[in-house]
C-alpha cells in the first residue's frame, strides 16, 4: 500500500533519481582517488624537487597572460577567416570558391607545427621578420580558421530553405538574407563548437613556444626546466596551469551552452 500522496510514478522517479545521484557520487569519488594517487606518487615514490617548484611557479604562472593573449587574438582571427572561407565555399563565383577551398585544403593538408615554424623561420629568410606574438597569432589563426570554416558551413547549412524563402519573399536581397536571417542562426549553431575550438587553442598555443619567441607558460616551463635539469617539475607545473585553464574555460562553456539551449527558439 502506498503512503498518502505518494504515487507509484513518484516512487519510480525517486528510485531513478537515486541511481543518478549514486552514479555521480561514485564518479566524483574515483576522481578524487585518482588525483590523490597522482599527488602521492609525486610526493613519495617519485622524488621531485620542491624547492625548484617553490622558486619557479610564479615565473611559469606569469606566462598565463601571454598564453591567453595569443589564444584570444588567434581565435578572433580564426573566426574572421572561417566566416570568409565558409561564405566563399558557398559562393557561385568560381575564383572565390577556389580561393576558399584552396586555403582550407592547404592548411588542413600540412601540420600545424610546420605552419608555426614557417612563420617564425621561413618568412625571415624572405626578409619578413614578424614580432613573435604576431607570427604565432597568424599561424594559429590561419590553421584554426581552416578547420572552423567547416563548423560555419555546417551552421549555414542547418538554416532551413524556408528561412531563406521567407526572407526573399519579403523582398530581401541575397546579402540582406545572409546577414540578417541566415548568419545569426548559423552562428548560434556554431557557438558550442567554437567554444571547444577556443579551449583546444589555449593548449595548441603551447606549440608556438617551440620557436622561442613567445614567452607563454610552455616556453617558461621548458626554459627553467632545461636550465636546472628539472624538466619534470617544470612540466608538472605547466600541466597544472593548462589543466586549470581548461577546467575554468569548460565551466564557462557549459554555462553558456545551457543558456543557449534555454533561449533556443
Amino acid at each position: 500500500m502506498n503512503q498518502a500522496g505518494t504515487s507509484q510514478a513518484e516512487l519510480l522517479y525517486e528510485a531513478q533519481q537515486r541511481k543518478v545521484r549514486q552514479f555521480r557520487n561514485n564518479v566524483v569519488i574515483t576522481w578524487i582517488v585518482l588525483l590523490g594517487l597522482l599527488i602521492f606518487l609525486f610526493s613519495g615514490p617519485i622524488q621531485i624537487d620542491t624547492d625548484f617548484i617553490r622558486r619557479n611557479t610564479l615565473f611559469i604562472a606569469s606566462g598565463i597572460g601571454e598564453t591567453l593573449n595569443i589564444s584570444v587574438l588567434s581565435i578572433v582571427l580564426a573566426i574572421i577567416l572561417a566566416l570568409l572561407a565558409a561564405l566563399g565555399r558557398l559562393s557561385t563565383i568560381p575564383p572565390v570558391y577556389a580561393v576558399s577551398t584552396f586555403y582550407v585544403s592547404l592548411i588542413r593538408g600540412t601540420p600545424l607545427f610546420l605552419q608555426i615554424f614557417f612563420f617564425f623561420l621561413a618568412l625571415p629568410q624572405l626578409g619578413i621578420v614578424l614580432p613573435g606574438l604576431i607570427a604565432g597569432v597568424l599561424a594559429l589563426g590561419l590553421n584554426y580558421g581552416a578547420y572552423m570554416s567547416e563548423t560555419f558551413r555546417a551552421g549555414i547549412a542547418s538554416v532551413s530553405k524556408g528561412q531563406r524563402e521567407a526572407a526573399i519573399a519579403i523582398g530581401m536581397t541575397p546579402t540582406q538574407t545572409m546577414r540578417r536571417i541566415v548568419l545569426p542562426q548559423a552562428l548560434r549553431f556554431a557557438i558550442p563548437p567554437m567554444g571547444n575550438d577556443f579551449i583546444s587553442m589555449t593548449k595548441d598555443s603551447a606549440l608556438v613556444s617551440a620557436t622561442g619567441f613567445v614567452h607563454d607558460v610552455m616556453w617558461r616551463a621548458t626554459r627553467v626546466g632545461r636550465a636546472e635539469f628539472n624538466s619534470l617539475e617544470a612540466l608538472i607545473i605547466a600541466a597544472v596551469f593548462y589543466w586549470m585553464m581548461t577546467l575554468i574555460l569548460t565551466t564557462f562553456q557549459n554555462r553558456m551552452e545551457a543558456r543557449l539551449a534555454r533561449g533556443d527558439r
Partner: protein, 260 residues
C-alpha cells in the same frame, strides 16, 4: 459584397507560363488573370503544380518561360541580368507570401519578425513600422504575444503572425501556399478565420489549399489543377454542384466523403 469585380482590370496576369524541373514539365502553358480584390483558390491533387504556379508568381521559382505581371510590373520568365532582378524585386514588394511551414524567423521576436521587412527592405521609419505592425498583429489577434519568440507559439499562432508579417509589407496581392496543411486540426479554424478577414478587407488573394470548405465559402473563383494545367476554372457554387472534369469530381467526392 464583392460585386463589381468583373469590371476591374486584372492585377495579376499570367501569360503562357511554362515551368520545367529538369525534364519534368510541371506547368504547361498556363494563362490566368486575377482581378483586384478577387479571392482565388487553387485546388488539386499533390503534384498537380498548384504550389509551383503560386511560387512562380513571386519568382521563388523562376518560370522557364512566359510572362508574369503584377500590378503593372511585367516580368519575362527565363530572363537574367540586373534589370530582370530589379523587376523581380518590384514584384516581390507587391506580393506577400504565407508558407505552409510558417517560416517565422526564430531569432526574432514576433514584433521584430513583422517589422523586419518594412524597415530593412523598404527603409520605413522604425516607429512607423512598429505602429503598422501592431495594427496588423492586432487584426490577426496576436498583439498580446508581440514580445514572444516563435518557439513559444502554437502552429496557428505562428501562422497568424506570418500573415501579419506579410500584410505589414502592404502588398497588393497575398499568396497563401497551403497555409493550414501543417496545422493540427483544431488550429486550422483560427487561421482560416484570419484569412476570411483579410479577404473581407478587400485583399486580392491566391490560396493553394486542401480546405474545400474555405474554397466554397470564401473564394470568388476556384481553379482546379491537374498535371500542370488548369483543368477547371469556375465559381465555387458551379464547381461544387456541377464539376465538369472527372478529376474535379473525384476531388470533390473525396471531400464530401470526408465531411460525413
Amino acid at each position: 459584397m464583392r460585386e463589381g469585380i468583373a469590371k476591374m482590370t486584372p492585377i495579376v496576369k499570367i501569360s503562357n507560363l511554362d515551368k520545367y524541373f529538369g525534364r519534368l514539365h510541371v506547368l504547361k502553358d498556363i494563362s490566368l488573370d486575377v482581378k483586384e480584390r478577387e479571392v482565388v483558390c487553387l485546388i488539386g491533387r499533390s503534384g498537380s503544380g498548384k504550389s509551383t504556379l503560386l511560387r512562380c508568381i513571386n519568382f521563388l521559382e523562376e518560370p522557364s518561360s512566359g510572362i508574369i505581371e503584377v500590378d503593372g510590373v511585367k516580368v519575362d520568365g527565363g530572363e537574367k541580368g540586373k534589370a530582370h532582378r530589379g523587376l523581380v524585386h518590384n514584384i516581390r514588394l507587391k506580393t506577400g507570401m504565407v508558407f505552409q511551414e510558417f517560416n517565422l524567423f526564430p531569432h526574432m521576436s514576433v514584433l521584430e519578425n513583422v517589422i523586419e521587412g518594412p524597415v530593412i527592405v523598404k527603409g520605413m521609419d522604425k516607429d512607423k513600422a512598429i505602429s503598422l505592425a501592431e495594427e496588423n498583429l492586432d487584426s490577426v489577434g496576436m498583439l498580446f504575444k508581440k514580445d514572444e519568440y516563435p518557439l513559444r507559439l502554437s502552429g496557428g499562432q505562428k501562422q497568424r503572425v506570418a500573415i501579419a508579417r506579410a500584410l505589414t509589407m502592404q502588398p497588393k496581392v497575398m499568396l497563401f501556399d497551403e497555409p493550414t496543411s501543417a496545422l493540427d486540426p483544431e488550429l486550422i479554424g483560427e487561421v482560416l478565420n484570419v484569412m476570411k478577414k483579410v479577404a473581407k478587407d478587400g485583399m486580392t488573394m491566391l490560396v493553394v489549399t486542401h480546405e474545400m470548405g474555405f474554397a466554397r465559402e470564401v473564394a470568388d473563383r476556384v481553379l482546379v489543377m491537374g498535371d500542370g494545367e488548369i483543368i477547371e476554372d469556375a465559381k465555387p457554387k458551379t464547381l461544387f454542384t456541377r464539376p465538369k472534369d472527372p478529376r474535379t469530381k473525384a476531388l470533390i467526392d473525396r471531400y464530401r466523403s470526408g465531411e460525413n
